[in-house]
């Protein structure tokens, strides 16, 4: 019986079986080099791919922002044209939201969440790879316009109908920049939804023994909430984008005024997605900060259940406040009042989080390493962004603030001071874990202070600009409006900020190659991702699947070392009883399928439907190959001395 079982488990790996399959159904085996990255299903490698792509686009978006600030540095400037300015602010927002902050969060989800729950990978490893390649396809579609005559999309990241219609958005009949925007966002939506479903299934099903939901690290909780927000909110924008695509490509009239379409419908659909999207950007950041603050205060998060619950409440209320983006669209008194009050209500769970972070510091032993500096900076800046948000919630006051620079100041405090500060903190915090090297404290702190100062010098004056009547999205302003000095200060600040970001990344690149080697638990951390046997973590993450006894599981391991060591020894051979540590095989098909989507999408935007169908066929072939390439999988064995044997294609006899 046992022998039969063993055969069943190990059968796919036997060399005879593998070679019997047609060559295009064999699973790739490269563990290093280009092929290993193109075919990877390892959540850590995929996380790194997300991170590198996201950071690249973060720099692209930053360059776009700098060009905007150069144009606005002085009144009546002629640095760039109105058209290019419109393309820049459209792409700056689209890039920063969809191609920088979201995928950077996804990078952390991918890399850290499985480690935090003691898993060996996500639930659907190939799907995880697919989500990344689809994301890359969407990013290419969004940006390819820069290399065409029509230029990049120019209708704003919010794409309000009917400005996106053929009649108003096409500078000339062959202008497909808006089609690229529509297609790019749809493809990115596919990626986000796939990734989120994967994370949800992983968190629900693959937690280590003993890791009950109320013991989950807060970052994992926020991953779960964010994933739910994505799968619930993206359908709304997908519907809106499909309708817009139909309007533009096939002459339907969802948003076409002449055909009785309702442009206001776009705004409702967009913001039902768009407001939860704000929380999609900030909840992961809150999760990162909720990990860093306890570590560097050397005590548990204050009020863990309330922090988790307030995250859920934010996610829930986040679906009920979308129309506060539309206070000026003439909704009438009752709707305006309702959304005004709902928006104020969401300040309560957000405030609760801030109280709890302060409570975490209270009575702690605060160690101000660079990640902690960014996390503290996050609390300050997010608090300021939160308070200007409360100002917006009062609809009559918002009538003056809406679409002015006051709003620009507000959401940059939330998104840079909030999301970006937290993500930069996270990169610093987990860098030793991911790369096994320590970032220099001096250079880290320097980059923090330059970024902190630059950020405030850039965005603080914008509060005044907005209240002084300067509207957003304006390529040029007159010198007699009282906006000159504040704009100049903001532009100088933008360059200070850019220098700070430059230092930050230069230090990271230097550290990757030349940094001081670091091993193990460098920060005296509290959560399970630091329990990995080596830094960087091995492919299989944990030699022995951890058993969790408390919240802050790793802290418990450290304070109960003997008990844990005995337990680990007891479970050391658990997985060998069913063939060893089971690992997923790599695959070409996620990449092939995503490539089909890219080709089809690009042809579709140029209304070349034969090409679109060809791309669709490649995609379907990819799906077919995916389905028929066989289950794959192989086993690893950990020996007493810590060595690992087994691996892709090696036969079981080796142990």
């Amino acid at each position: 019986m046992e022998a039969a079982l063993k055969t069943a488990y190990t059968a796919p790996e036997s060399a005879a079986k593998t070679s019997a399959r047609p060559w295009f159904f064999t699973r790739p085996k490269a563990k290093t080099g280009l092929v290993s990255w193109l075919t990877t299903v390892d959540h850590k490698k995929i996380g790194l791919l997300y991170a590198i792509t996201a950071l690249f686009f973060f720099l692209v978006g930053g360059v776009e922002a700098l060009m905007i600030r150069v144009q606005l540095a002085v009144p009546n400037n002629t640095f760039i044209s109105h058209q290019l300015y419109n393309e820049l602010f459209t792409m700056h927002a689209t890039t920063m939201i969809f191609l920088a902050v979201m995928p950077l969060s996804a990078a952390f989800f991918n890399y850290m969440m499985p480690l935090q729950i003691g898993a060996r990978d996500v639930a659907f490893p190939r799907l995880n790879g697919f989500a990344f390649w689809v994301f890359l396809a969407g990013a290419i579609v969004l940006n390819v316009g820069w290399f065409t005559r029509a230029g990049a999309p120019d209708s704003g990241w919010f794409g309000y109908a009917p400005l996106t219609s053929v009649a108003y958005s096409n500078q000339f009949s062959g202008d497909s920049s808006t089609d690229l925007w529509v297609m790019g966002l749809q493809i990115l939506g596919v990626s986000s939804v796939i990734g989120s479903l994967n994370f949800i299934v992983t968190i629900i099903n693959m937690r280590a023994p003993g890791l009950t939901m109320m013991r989950l690290p807060v970052f994992t909780w926020m991953t779960l909430f964010t994933a739910f927000l994505i799968i619930l909110s993206f359908p709304a924008i997908t519907i809106a984008l499909v309708e817009l695509m139909m309007d533009r490509s096939f002459g339907t009239g969802f948003f076409e005024v002449a055909k009785g379409g309702l442009p206001i419908l776009w705004q409702h659909l967009f913001w039902i997605f768009g407001h939860p999207e704000v929380y999609i950007l900030i909840l992961p950041a809150m999760g990162v900060v909720s990990e860093i603050l306890p570590t560097f205060s050397r005590k548990p998060l204050f009020g863990y259940p309330i922090v988790v619950f307030s995250g859920a409440v934010i996610g829930f209320l986040g679906f009920g406040v979308w129309s506060h983006h539309m206070f000026t669209t003439g909704m009438g008194t009752m709707a305006t009042a309702a959304f005004s009050l709902a928006t104020m209500a969401i300040a309560v769970p957000t405030g609760v989080k801030i109280f709890n972070w302060v409570g975490t510091l209270w009575g702690g032993q605060i160690i101000t390493r660079t990640p902690m500096m960014f996390a503290l900076g996050f609390i300050w800046m997010f608090m300021m962004g939160g308070f200007s948000g409360v100002m917006h919630s009062a609809a009559p006051a918002d009538a003056q603030q809406q679409d002015s620079y006051f709003v620009v100041a507000h959401f940059h405090y939330v998104l840079i001071g909030g999301s970006i500060f937290a993500l930069l903190a996270g990169i610093h915090y987990w860098f030793p874990l991911v790369f096994g090297r320590m970032v220099s404290e001096f250079w880290g702190k320097l980059s923090f202070w330059v970024i902190f100062v630059g950020f405030n010098v850039t965005f603080f004056p914008m509060h005044f600009l907005g209240l002084n009547g300067m509207p957003r999205r304006t390529a040029v302003y007159d010198g007699n409006m009282g906006w000159n000095s504040a704009n100049l200060v903001a532009s100088i600040g933008a360059f200070i900020l850019a220098i700070g970001i430059g230092i930050y990344f230069a230090v990271m690149v230097y550290t990757y190659f030349k940094g001081k080697k670091a091993t193990g638990d460098v920060w005296d951390a509290r959560t399970l991702e630091w329990a990995v046997p080596t830094t960087p973590p091995p492919e299989h993450n944990f030699n022995v699947t951890p058993t969790v006894h408390a919240r802050d599981a790793f802290w418990y391991e450290k304070t109960h070392a003997k008990e844990i060591a005995e337990e680990k020894a007891k479970h050391a051979k658990d997985e060998d009883s069913h063939g060893g540590i089971h690992m997923p095989s790599q695959s070409w098909f996620p990449l092939v399928t995503a490539t089909g989507l890219l080709i089809g999408g690009l042809f579709f935007t140029h209304h070349n439907f034969q090409g679109a169908i060809a791309g669709g066929c490649i995609m379907l072939l990819g799906v077919l190959g995916w389905a028929f390439e066989g289950p794959g999988g192989y086993h690893l064995h950990i020996h007493k001395d810590g060595t690992v044997t087994g691996g892709e294609g090696q036969d079981e006899a080796s142990h």
Binding site: V257, F302, I366
Partner: protein, 420 residues
């Protein structure tokens, strides 16, 4: 607690920086579109709500930030030994503190919510008691200019009174403005008189505002509406009751005819017309010093008007096909795609509040419109009508339909400025 000199120095610099802030930012709250310099009840009500939000959020900010700063300073490990000290108490939180803070946040928000609700209803429409006294106008947004219509000022044979880019209203009286758009979404915003409301396609929006005193106000489109959104601006002029009546009477008249004495010869106006860069400013300090006086002066014919040149310009205005899009009531021009120019000479701005309406600016606009306002319909064409140029399907400018040389432009400028 032990302070190191560096800490003390840092705290002193921070305090100084905070104290210096109002000095730097003092000039940042006054300007032609300042929301602090309110001139009517709607803007005042909105500013009051804003002030409430400021008081509440600042109070909460100082409390929370104070505790945060105190905690950070007090519990900071200031040395290696402090960092390696035995771990502090691993406390998990206190539900009573949490509930208390939640309760306090809700209380703070109620303080904001009450005036917010009151102002939502107040700012939505003209108060019942004053409705009978309210004056009604329509504002229509188009890419990239505003048309203003006076539905209660009918002109025999021509329908309602229509003007462009400068809205003249009676002061001291509520004005209800119906907001409409002919293409994409625009937004009507005159910060000193009130917050913005969008002009939505297929939707009948409105707002109300009131200028307490006669005055001259800057406004701007506040919703991104395409290439030249940044330069889609307008002005509002509030007049005392009798001035407003006089203005209406003049506006209802057809365009002014200027008769040239027999045998007179045209003398070209001698303003400097060196080509200007795109985005070159079109404002002057003289005008800004007293815009309402400048507006008043514009209502009367210019003393040095050259009647011969005016009539040449009038002829060119028809020959160059300006009349297909622009209306000049009484002069045979009845186009509806572009601003009504019947009394153009009485307006203080041109190209939708972008440039002051003086001769060099107008000349520049007529000769080189695309560098003043990129993508404008006079240059690109509109509703199937060709503009100055035609573009091919790659967006390249291929053919010039309308060309205006320097001499012609001077005549057209003279003509348009005669339309008081």
């Amino acid at each position: 607690m032990r302070f190191r000199p560096a800490d003390i120095l840092r705290r002193i610099t921070t305090t100084l920086a905070l104290l210096a802030l109002p000095l730097v930012t003092g000039g940042w709250t006054s300007g032609p579109q300042s929301t602090f310099d309110t001139k009517g009840p709607v803007a005042k009500a909105q500013l009051e709500v804003f002030h409430v939000t400021v008081y509440v959020t600042f109070a909460v900010f100082f409390i929370v930030a104070g505790i945060l700063a105190y905690a950070t300073i007090k519990y900071k490990a200031r040395s290696d030994s402090a960092e390696k000290a035995p771990v502090p108490d691993q406390g998990h939180g206190n539900p009573f503190i949490e509930l208390g803070l939640i309760g306090a946040s809700i209380a703070a928000l109620v303080v904001i919510a009450v005036p917010t609700l009151r102002a939502i209803w107040y700012t939505y429409d003209v108060p019942e008691a004053e409705r009978a006294n309210a004056y009604e106008v329509n504002a229509r947004g188009l890419q990239w200019w505003f048309q203003f219509e006076y539905p209660h000022e009918q002109i025999d044979g021509s329908g309602q009174l229509v003007t462009g880019n400068e809205l003249v209203i009676p002061a001291g009286r509520p004005v209800r403005i119906n907001l409409r758009t002919s293409d994409v979404i625009h937004s009507f915003w005159v910060p000193k008189l009130g917050g913005k409301v969008d002009m939505m396609p297929n939707r009948g929006n409105h707002l109300w505002l009131q200028a307490d005193e006669p005055g001259y106000f800057w406004g701007q489109c506040a919703e991104f509406c395409g290439e030249s959104h940044a330069v889609m601006r307008f002005r509002v002029i509030a007049l005392a009751a009798d001035d407003f009546a006089a203005w209406l009477e003049n506006q209802k008249k057809p365009a002014r005819d200027v008769v040239a004495p027999a045998g007179a010869k045209a003398v070209l106006a001698s303003y400097d017309m060196t080509p200007k860069k795109r985005n070159a400013p079109g404002y002057t300090a003289d005008f800004d010093a007293n815009p309402l006086a400048a507006w008043t002066a514009m209502q009367f014919p210019e003393k040095d008007e050259d009647a011969v040149l005016v009539n040449q310009g009038r002829k060119l205005f028809a020959e160059k096909n300006c009349v297909t899009c622009h209306a000049v009531r009484g002069h045979g021009a009845s186009g509806v795609n572009a601003p009504d120019l019947t009394h153009f000479g009485s307006r203080t701005t041109l190209a939708a509040g972008l440039l002051e309406n003086n001769k060099p600016n107008l000349h520049r606009w007529i000769v080189d419109p695309n560098n003043v306002k990129p993508g404008n319909k006079m240059y690109m064409g509109v509703n199937g009508m060709a503009g100055y140029m035609t573009a091919d399907d790659k967006g390249r400018m291929t053919k010039a339909h309308i060309q205006v040389n320097d001499t012609e432009a001077r005549a057209i400028v003279e003509y348009l400025h005669s339309l008081k």
